[in-house]
Subunit: 324 residues, 2 copies
């Protein structure tokens, strides 16, 4: 299948935004879409590194989109459009590409945004997907990871560790015997399909001093937030929210806490706010069905300090996922 | 070298746009930058496919940027910023990345735009560079390839075929014996380093009915413009502008005309305008030092029809570069 056909028959129908004039190699985005400025982000997924070559194509598409949407969510930005680069091995087949496009279409409908352009190329290497997502910020200038202040409370949305535990399920290195089938299924699903927390921050954005998404492990990402903000972060490990399946996994093997805190693939929002806003933030979480849990405080000093329920330091075996 | 270090030490200094708040995984672009809307484009280059693995890293960086800038130029858009995805083989070294970044820095200064963000990942495959460039359009809604009308004159900027002939030079399959050293050098340079025609269209934009850049070969790209516009294109091969080196190459071997017309890597602008504007357009080319040459007309019907100096049909051996 040649590029013109691929674009025309499979990807062009995804470029459905009526106000955006799609022209194969460029998209024209009207000023009205960008009246509040833009938040832009880009993430690349490589087969065999960030997903498995035999993963379902629609799930690969959704993961590639959602890791970007998670970045937008953590900046209180609403997705507007995206560009897609697809580097395909020579032996790709059209059925794979069609299923991939079906995954894109599903998430475009789910999250109300559209394809704005991109590129398709051949590669002698593994299938590689790069997405650039463009969003509309809720506040001018948006949120940064660098605004946390000493004394701020550290929050995360949802639950931590499910994606990393799910990877152990998917690779069959853990849990097939020790967890119930429904826990295994839930964790694997959380690994395959991030749930970007779009819309969560907007109603509470005035309280928030710093925010980023958790993608490379809570420990590493929190240490980045602390460094960018010029403070230390004190993380209370016992307060980190776990799903019921994650809780049962850690209860069955306490050493898994290391994977929970450093494993990555969470795609939750990590953010800070002053203590005066804490109860409003927790109430917002309860009201929306996406919990916000206080997991520590920003302190004077530098670095990440993890403590257990008795306040004793915990040292992780590794510091999180580094891409290189 | 780990990702945090790579970003901090090599790429962060490239994110120098003072108005854009750079936050590693997202950039916040103020509304003032986007008051005219935006033109967005994305291109991927794969080592061994779009460049040679042993090409100079700074030239790889510049080529990756310039193929995108060429898309913006063909839409009368001024570059504002870009996002970079770099997928690096495991054995990459920091010296390569530093030279690559130096190439980016050079072109940022040359074209006055800045890095807005991106991603760096490891790949078991070849080095792969994806760039998303964002530009400010000179006219609301921008230019499309689909606006050509029957009777319009077809123009190209600069000269055609140098990049494709340069590839033959670089791969040593031609010319080492038959062309002078300075011609060999000029053609190789044109292959390695596109010259995006930024700013060319803006003063004449009111005349232009359709525009796109020539990247996959004049014949294929003109056939795309014709199809998008719902007309036929009649290309007079003898009027296609050649550089002195390109002219000498074709004179020495007339069969090379096929490569000139279908080889790709031109990064010139292909555009159409009504005959009444033709003399103003040619005069604009002369005044700016970047020629605009009439190479044919849009006709009733469909498809691309190439004719020689006597009006006889010419059939190409292949239709241009297809990415897949």
């Amino acid at each position: 299948m040649r590029e013109d056909n691929l674009i025309a028959t499979i990807f062009a129908p995804l470029a459905g935004e009526p106000g955006v004039r799609f022209d194969d190699d460029c998209a024209h985005v009207p000023a009205a879409y960008l009246a509040k400025g833009a938040v832009v982000t880009m993430d690349t997924l490589v087969a065999g590194v960030h997903f498995f070559a035999d993963d379902a194509p629609d799930l690969v598409a959704k993961k590639a989109l959602r890791v970007n949407l998670s970045d937008l969510a953590a900046k209180a930005a609403r997705p507007l459009g995206y560009l897609l680069s697809l580097a395909l091995p020579k032996n790709h087949d059209a059925a794979w590409v069609r299923q991939f496009a079906a995954g894109l279409a599903g998430d475009q409908a789910e999250y109300d945004f559209a394809l704005w352009g991109g590129d398709t190329v051949a590669t002698p290497g593994p299938l590689t997907v790069t997405i650039t997502a463009i969003g509309e910020p809720a506040v001018p200038g948006g949120l940064l990871r660098s605004g946390a202040r000493i004394g701020d409370v550290i929050f995360v949305t949802g639950t931590i560790g499910d994606g990393a535990l799910g990877l152990k399920v998917v690779t069959k290195t853990r849990f097939r015997d020790t967890l119930e089938a429904q826990d295994v299924s839930m964790l694997a699903d959380r690994y395959h399909l991030p749930r970007p927390r779009l819309g969560f921050l907007e109603p509470i954005v005035d309280h928030i001093t710093a925010a980023m998404d958790v993608s490379d492990g809570l420990a590493l990402d929190l240490s980045r937030l602390a460094r960018a903000s010029g403070c230390a972060a004190r993380l209370k490990a016992a307060t980190v929210p776990l799903s019921p399946a994650g809780r049962r996994a850690v209860d069955s093997d306490p050493s898994l806490l290391n994977i929970v805190l450093s494993g990555g693939d969470d795609y939750e929002i990590l953010f800070t706010a002053p203590p005066s806003a804490a109860s409003a933030i927790v109430a917002h979480g309860s009201a929306t069905g996406c919990s916000a849990t206080a997991i520590g405080t920003m302190d004077d000093g530098e670095g990440l300090h993890i403590v257990d329920a008795e306040g004793r330091p915990i040292t992780l075996e590794n510091a999180g996922y580094q891409h290189l």
